[in-house]
């Protein structure tokens, strides 16, 4: 290429990874979590870097801090709720600073596409008093990553980059730099306890420095080109950041915009100047009134029509919704409601309310369409356990992963699920509260390594009789099959140690431990029924690799149903397998629909074959024998 930079289509996550590489990051650690996962995967694929999956976000952040203490630029990646797990480390790193740049990416998930909450992690930056950068597209994701390292080193502070799902998973054109920053070779490992050992005496001296640093960062924000005023019409001024900037440009093309690339600390003078130049000023941001509150605290009057009751400050935003993602349509409709835009008649007919067509056909209402929620995949080794748990009718305390889908009908076998690692502790609490029913806790291998093992230690230590099922599919599956300490492979696919879950569980003091094949329905049922009769903690490890990993895919063999043997008893429908469908044929006697197998979806896991009371669903061996005939 000549002078022109290479422009390519990159997702926000790819751009963040590219930026980190260009910034000279040498060590990166993270825990998979949508929408952050691909950042580390892309970064790991680049030359001359070290990247790893850590067992949880706290470990990941400590690793990155450790590398930055050792003088190498370092990155930690996680989803928003991962920062909760890493928060302890987040706060000490904010106190100590580092020897080389440290950036933490928190990928937030407004609208909870794949999360249990939609917390706004800009609050964490304010909480720990470190800078927060808020990219608005992939180009900014790349650029801000490079800038974040400069800021981190100039001010001796960790920097939070906080993209959202629409930034992470939107691809747009990015000009990338050709060169990679070279970190100067690190000196001797710091022997500086006053800075790095946070005993109270040292910490008390660090805190004023953190406050001083924040003031310097606020001064920097005034002049940095991360923040810019785009002056157009003086009638309306919009203060915005992140993805909301794009909606502002779509909905208010003529408005002046104060685009804050740095959403903490805010440039007060810049905001005052901007507000003074325009007739009306509003704040447009997703989720919390993070900027809005601070702007109001500065005494700036934000636009509100006379008599407008929406937005009871200080708890709510004044104009735009607090919940969920925004989009141009939502921003436009709210702008119309408060008189910022003229009310245009909606040209789009509502599918739900078109009386003309309703005469001919009862037209479909979108709300009444069969839903298509995610479900456990065909061949999923978790299915058998939930089928049995459903039969046992005891409380099930669940956890975060694909297997949370055990809550979906017809399996319907989960009663609680709050966050990573919560299952076992919540079950233990229930037992200790004297709940009369025996509790099961259900947790995946990766979640067990993440924060489950400590809770199981508590069960063993304080002796409740919780029955824990560790669903060991050897991979972190929900986020797209990332390796974990039980996989025997690193992020780079290199063979490594595998955690022996059985030995680990025994070593923390659980005496009743059994490992069974996750596809073995009878073994799961008989074990759990046996354990319901004994009053002690027990751990069942259901063991089978995720059906989506390449080695398992090679074994797929669609099963078949002997139609004459099926009487439409519908038992196989209760395992909730997408590969089992209702046939249009009815059983002659019972008049119930027969079962049919979709050969495109069926993997041949044989859970349905085992459940079928009439042996109508063939086992793999029978299918193979038939093929030979």
């Amino acid at each position: 290429m000549t002078e022109e930079l290479v422009k390519r289509l990159l997702s926000g996550n790819e751009a963040l990874a590219r930026g980190a590489w260009e910034a000279g990051v040498e060590v990166a650690s993270g825990y998979p979590g949508t929408p952050s996962t691909e950042i580390l995967e892309f970064f790991a694929s680049m030359p001359n870097v070290y990247a790893e999956w850590a067992p949880n976000e706290k470990v990941a952040l400590d690793v990155a801090v450790g590398a930055a203490y050792a003088g190498k630029r370092a990155l930690a990646t996680m989803k928003h709720v991962g920062v909760n797990v890493a928060a302890d480390s987040f706060f000490y790193a904010a106190m100590t600073g580092m020897e080389a740049g440290l950036v933490i990416v928190s990928a937030d998930d407004p609208s909870m596409h794949s999360s249990q909450n939609e917390q706004d992690n800009r609050n964490y930056a304010k909480f720990a008093r470190i800078p927060c950068l808020d990219p608005a597209d992939s180009q900014e994701a790349r650029d801000m990553m490079v800038r974040a390292f400069e800021i981190s080193e100039e001010f001796d502070t960790p920097v939070l980059i906080r993209p959202t799902t629409r930034i992470c998973h939107t691809s747009s054109l990015v000009a990338t730099g050709p060169d990679r920053y070279q970190t100067p070779p690190p000196g001797k490992y710091p022997r500086n306890p006053a800075k790095y050992v946070m005993i109270p005496a040292n910490a008390r001296k660090r805190h004023p420095l953190v406050e001083e640093r924040l003031q310097k960062l606020a001064d920097f924000a005034e002049t940095s080109d991360l923040n810019r005023a785009e002056m157009r019409s003086f009638e309306l001024g919009v203060i915005t950041s992140g993805i909301a900037y794009q909606y502002a440009r779509d909905v208010f093309p003529d408005a002046s915009i104060l685009k804050l690339g740095m959403s903490f600390p805010l440039p007060q003078n810049m905001i005052r100047d901007f507000a003074a130049k325009v007739d009306k000023v509003i704040v447009l941001e997703e989720l919390d009134p993070f900027i809005e509150e601070q702007v109001l605290m500065m005494g700036i009057k934000l636009y509100k029509p006379d008599g407008w009751v929406g937005g009871k400050y200080p708890h709510f935003k004044s104009i735009f919704p607090h919940n969920g993602e925004l989009n141009s349509g939502i921003v436009r409709s709210h702008a119309i409601r408060i008189g910022l835009l003229p009310d245009e008649p909606k040209t789009q007919p509502e599918v739900e309310s078109a009386p003309a067509a309703r005469v001919e056909f009862p037209v479909l209402l979108v709300e009444e369409l069969p839903r298509r929620p995610p479900a456990l995949c065909p061949g999923c080794p978790h299915r058998s356990t939930f089928y049995i748990l459903n039969k046992l009718k005891r409380p099930v305390n669940g956890d975060i992963g694909c297997y949370t889908l055990g809550v979906v009908p017809p399996l319907s076998a989960m009663d609680t699920c709050g966050c990573m690692g919560a299952s076992i502790g919540v079950a233990h609490g229930g037992m200790m509260a004297g709940d009369r029913e025996r509790h099961f806790s259900v947790i995946g291998d990766s979640t067990f390594f993440h924060t489950g093992v400590q809770a199981l230690m508590n069960v063993a230590y304080n002796q409740s009789n919780v029955i824990t099922i560790i669903m060991d599919n050897r991979i972190t599956s929900m986020t797209g099959q990332q390796e974990n300490p039980g996989s025997g492979l690193t992020l780079q696919g290199k063979p490594t140690n595998e955690v022996d879950i059985e030995a680990l569980v025994r070593s923390i003091g659980i005496k009743t431990v059994r490992r069974v094949d996750a596809y073995d329905v009878d073994a799961i049922e008989s074990t759990l029924r046996e354990w319901l009769k004994i009053d002690e903690p027990a751990v069942l490890i259901t063991d089978h690799a995720c059906a989506l990993v390449p080695d398992e895919r090679k074994k797929y063999l669609p099963l078949d149903i002997v139609e004459e043997d099926c009487n439409g008893c519908t038992l196989c429908f209760r395992i909730g397998c997408p590969a089992i469908i209702r046939s249009e044929k009815l059983d002659e006697k019972t008049r119930r629909p027969l079962a049919e197998i979709n050969p495109i979806l069926c993997t041949g896991c044989e859970i349905c074959s085992q459940v079928c009371p009439r042996d109508a669903i063939l086992f793999r061996e029978q299918v193979l024998a038939r093929q030979v005939d």
Partner: protein, 194 residues
């Protein structure tokens, strides 16, 4: 230059992501600014999937607001009807004549809507509805997975565009041994629209 906004919907695993990648790359090769938005994670486990591809001189929002897509490309009929409200008045709908039974239907809780109802619902939004038997055509060509490329072929015809720029993008994205299959699938898709 005409701005275009494509809404692609289907069921996890149907190849909507490949199709949206092709549309995004094609937009770039035609000189547009392009944004492509999709959602990963839990929805990929057999749930509804949606991606948004926008071409324009300058694209701001990556998400197409309801009722503003120029064309809905649906890889499955039920998803087509679920998202038809995303299409602007007099926009277009390209629908794969293919049913993937959701669990709520196979377990007897819900009923899959009949074709007449689906058609009647489309009519409320637009008359420009194109049905293509993508899966059947791909099956005839020997690989059911090529159904998404059949749909892309149909789309190129609907948009009255030449094949070449599309094929160039598609061929750069598939392994060499599948180039011929995808070429055939694309042409079959073109012929499937009158």
């Amino acid at each position: 230059m005409k701005n275009m906004r494509f809404l692609l919907v289907g069921v996890g695993g149907q190849g909507t992501i490949l199709a949206s990648n092709v549309l995004a790359e094609l937009g770039i090769s035609l000189g547009y600014d392009v944004k492509k938005a999709e959602v990963h994670g839990m929805s990929q486990r057999g749930g509804s999937v949606v991606s948004h591809v926008s071409w324009g001189e300058k694209v701001y929002s990556p998400v197409i607001p309801d009722g503003e897509a120029d064309i809905l490309i649906a890889f499955e009929k039920l998803e087509a009807i679920r998202f038809v409200g995303g299409v602007r008045e007099k926009g277009m709908v390209l629908v794969n004549d293919y049913e993937i039974t959701p669990l709520s239907v196979s377990s007897g809780m819900d009923v899959y809507p009949a074709n007449e109802k689906i058609k009647a619902s489309f009519k409320l939004v637009t008359d420009k509805v194109y049905w293509v038997r993508g899966v059947e055509i791909a099956k005839e060509l020997g690989n059911i997975k090529a159904a998404n490329v059949v749909l892309l072929g149909a789309l190129s015809k609907i948009l009255e565009m030449e094949s070449d720029p599309w094929l160039k993008v598609i061929e750069a994205r598939v392994p060499p041994k599948f180039v011929e299959l995808n070429r055939e699938a694309f042409q079959a898709g073109r012929q499937a629209v009158k």
